[in-house]
């Protein structure tokens, strides 16, 4: 890849940031090579009279650098679990550690800062900003991290090159095909070198060929930089990109 040398320069993990927030929160991960750890996570919702238990005693560790798939039928609780792992939803009981930090006990704004610094998201419906061009969508991640315009433009272009959209930067999302949109979303998720990539049904809106191509691309880019990827899906065609697969059934987790 012609641009890889250039990319690697800013692919260096930002230790200083991680260290400073770690010392503030003083949380210790049980197993240091685990990027994501869920301990006794349960989510219950009260629907009318009934108490609905969506997640049941989830104890799960995802190894750093792995491509981890989470599969399960629709309604099994996959999205709920992903939201809890990302600090977007507070579990009823249990604790989540991300990169050794207890995200569950962080405040809302600390969680937001953690996500900004360490997590890239990929969504089923891409969730691109429709008024922004492809390159501006990618830049948004960088700008949120405080990287200024000139640098962010350069870095975003390099990322678009990597996902094979070198000359589509100025197109609006509505001018792109589904597969292209998801590539922009991948570039946006990878921008700023997050250690964790979380994807919810990333191929659900794509045909099987472009779905597979996009996942292969994600795998390659993540592996090159040693990132941890959690992909939630019920699409059996993408199992071959995974290092590990877990199953969720009616809120109960089973690892292979």
């Amino acid at each position: 890849m012609p641009n890889s040398a250039n990319i690697d320069e800013f692919n260096q993990p930002k230790f200083s940031q991680a260290e400073s927030s770690q010392s503030r929160l003083a949380a210790v991960v049980p197993q240091p090579d685990m990027a994501i750890v869920a301990e006794g996570v349960e989510v219950s919702l009260s629907a009318g009279q009934q108490q609905l238990q969506i997640l049941k005693q989830i104890n799960w560790s995802i190894r750093a650098g792995d491509i981890q798939l989470l599969m399960g039928p629709s309604g099994s609780g996959k999205t709920t679990l992903l939201s809890v792992l990302a600090g977007l939803l507070t579990p009823t009981v249990g604790t989540v550690y991300l990169l050794g930090q207890n995200i569950t006990k962080m405040s809302r704004s600390q969680q937001a800062r953690f996500r900004r610094d360490h997590i890239g998201f990929i969504f089923q419906d891409f969730n691109l900003f429709p008024a922004l061009s492809a390159i501006e969508n990618v830049e948004t991640t960088l700008n949120l991290k405080g990287i200024h315009r000139r640098q962010s433009r350069q870095q975003a272009q390099a990322l678009l090159d990597q996902v094979g959209l070198a000359d589509k930067g100025h197109q609006l999302p509505r001018q792109l095909s589904g597969g292209e949109k998801q590539r922009v979303a991948i570039a946006r998720a990878l921008a700023g070198q997050p250690q964790l990539i979380l994807a919810d049904e990333p191929t659900a809106a794509l045909d099987s060929q472009s779905g597979h191509a996009v996942m292969e691309l994600l795998r390659q880019l993540a592996k090159d930089a040693g990132r941890t990827v959690l992909i939630v899906t019920h699409d059996p065609r993408i199992v071959d990109v995974a290092d590990r697969i877990a199953h969720l059934d009616d809120g109960v987790l089973q690892e292979d």
Binding site: T79, L82, S83, A86, L88, L89, S109, A112, R113, F114, R115, R116, D117, I119, F121, F123, Q124, D125, N127, F129, P130, A131, L132, S133, E136, E139, T140, T141, N143, L144, R149, S152, D200
Partner: protein, 393 residues
């Protein structure tokens, strides 16, 4: 950072235009209503503010420039004898009727009698002819803005006031006040003759010249110019204690008394003020509704930003930036339109819509405040958004 606010705003051009027309309307309403109120207020006291008279002497019953009881003419000579008075002149202001004899039509007028080229009729106001020509019997000067209503064509033309002729000898500009009917200037003597002439009699073509005023003839005011360096407050007190049956007002007091009357007692000021308040409320509602709808439309994007780790402040700043763009893009054409309307009404209607640099800045501030406070409603919506909605299809 690429401005999400600006781009979201421009994404749906028709809706954006509707929004901007709404804000433009609100800006115009506020500007024109406040401009009319300011113009109206200034106009009520125009003759006072623009006269070099330092002190106005009147009956104690005086309410404002156009509403007072007469005082006898000999107060003028009494005032002249008071120490510190440099110059004093009598003036009358009364409402009467302009008669167009040949076509049997009438128009109400405000007849102002005074010293030609004096304190109330300074020569600076004249555009054609001169105030000196008012020394001729039954000569008048009209404001250009009145020509259409009194239906007089050119200098030298003659119509009638009461049963006496009125010959146009000059034109004035910028003397018309919104609270007076068409202002007609004449000499004190002619004014006195017009006042006592019969409205039922047929106008006489060549009447005897008007008589000089007797000490008991009624006048409305005595205008005083003080000697240089004279303390006006003490001169005022001296006038009130020396001359019987009068009150004296400095120019500022006379002006504010007249303005206050029209603002408070007439209800006009209140109505115009209400208009401005309604304009602001309409603006807040329109902008608020549009911002709220825009935020609702883009709620998933705000959720995405939250998931990506944007701080609450960043998200508020996007909404506030959007509000500010709406404010600026509504204000500029709105103010442009108002300046056009103001120029047009001043030229054709004799109505002043006063837009000063200060009032333009105040309206800008009001518009910004209006838009930003509407943003508050939209922010309410986005603070409640659950970031987990980003995963929902």
């Amino acid at each position: 950072m690429a401005s999400i606010a600006r781009k979201n705003l421009l994404e749906d051009i028709p809706r954006f235009l509707v929004a901007q027309i709404g804000i433009l309307f609100a800006v115009s309403l506020v500007t024109i209503q406040t401009g009319m109120q300011a113009g109206f207020t200034r106009s009520t006291s125009k003759l006072i503010d623009e006269s070099p008279a330092d002190i106005w002497v009147s009956s104690p019953s005086m309410e404002h420039l156009g509403l007072t009881l007469p005082i006898p003419y000999d107060r003028l000579s009494q005032v002249r004898r008071v120490a510190g008075v440099d110059r004093a002149e009598a003036a009358t202001i009364r409402l009467t009727v302009w008669r167009r004899v040949r076509v049997n039509q009438v128009t109400s007028i405000t007849l102002i009698g005074g010293e030609p080229n004096g304190l109330l009729l300074p020569s600076s106001k004249i555009t054609q002819g001169s105030f000196s020509d008012l020394r001729q019997p039954y000569a008048i000067v009209a404001d250009s803005a009145s020509l259409k209503t009194i239906q007089i064509q050119q200098l030298g033309d003659t119509e009638a006031i009461g049963s006496l002729p009125a010959k146009l000898v000059g034109l004035a500009k910028g003397t018309q006040s919104i609270v007076f009917d068409n202002i007609i200037f004449t000499s004190l003597e002619s004014a006195n003759a017009y006042a006592t002439s019969s409205l039922t009699a047929t106008p006489i073509a060549s009447p005897p010249a008007p008589k000089a005023l007797t000490p008991t003839d009624p006048v409305s005011f005595v205008l005083v110019q003080a000697q240089p360096g004279e303390d006006l407050a003490s001169l005022k007190q001296r006038l009130e204690s020396t001359v019987p049956g009068i009150r004296a007002y400095t120019r500022a007091e006379m002006s504010s008394r007249t303005q206050t009357y029209w603002q408070e007692r007439s209800g006009i000021g209140f109505i115009l003020g209400m208009g401005a308040v309604v304009g602001i409320i309409v603006g807040v509602v329109i902008v608020g509704q549009i911002l709220y709808a825009s935020v609702s439309d883009h709620i998933k994007e705000f959720g995405t930003l939250k998931a990506m780790g944007a701080s609450d402040w960043f998200i508020y700043s996007v909404i506030v930036e959007q509000a500010l763009w709406m404010a600026i893009l509504g204000y500029v054409p709105g103010m442009g339109m108002c300046l056009g309307v103001a120029a047009w009404t001043a030229a054709t209607q004799g109505i002043t819509i006063l837009i000063t640099p200060v009032s333009a800045i105040v309206v800008l501030g009001t518009t910004v405040l209006m838009c930003v406070s509407s943003a508050f409603f939209a922010i309410q919506k986005v603070t409640r958004v659950d970031p987990a909605i980003v995963f929902k299809a």
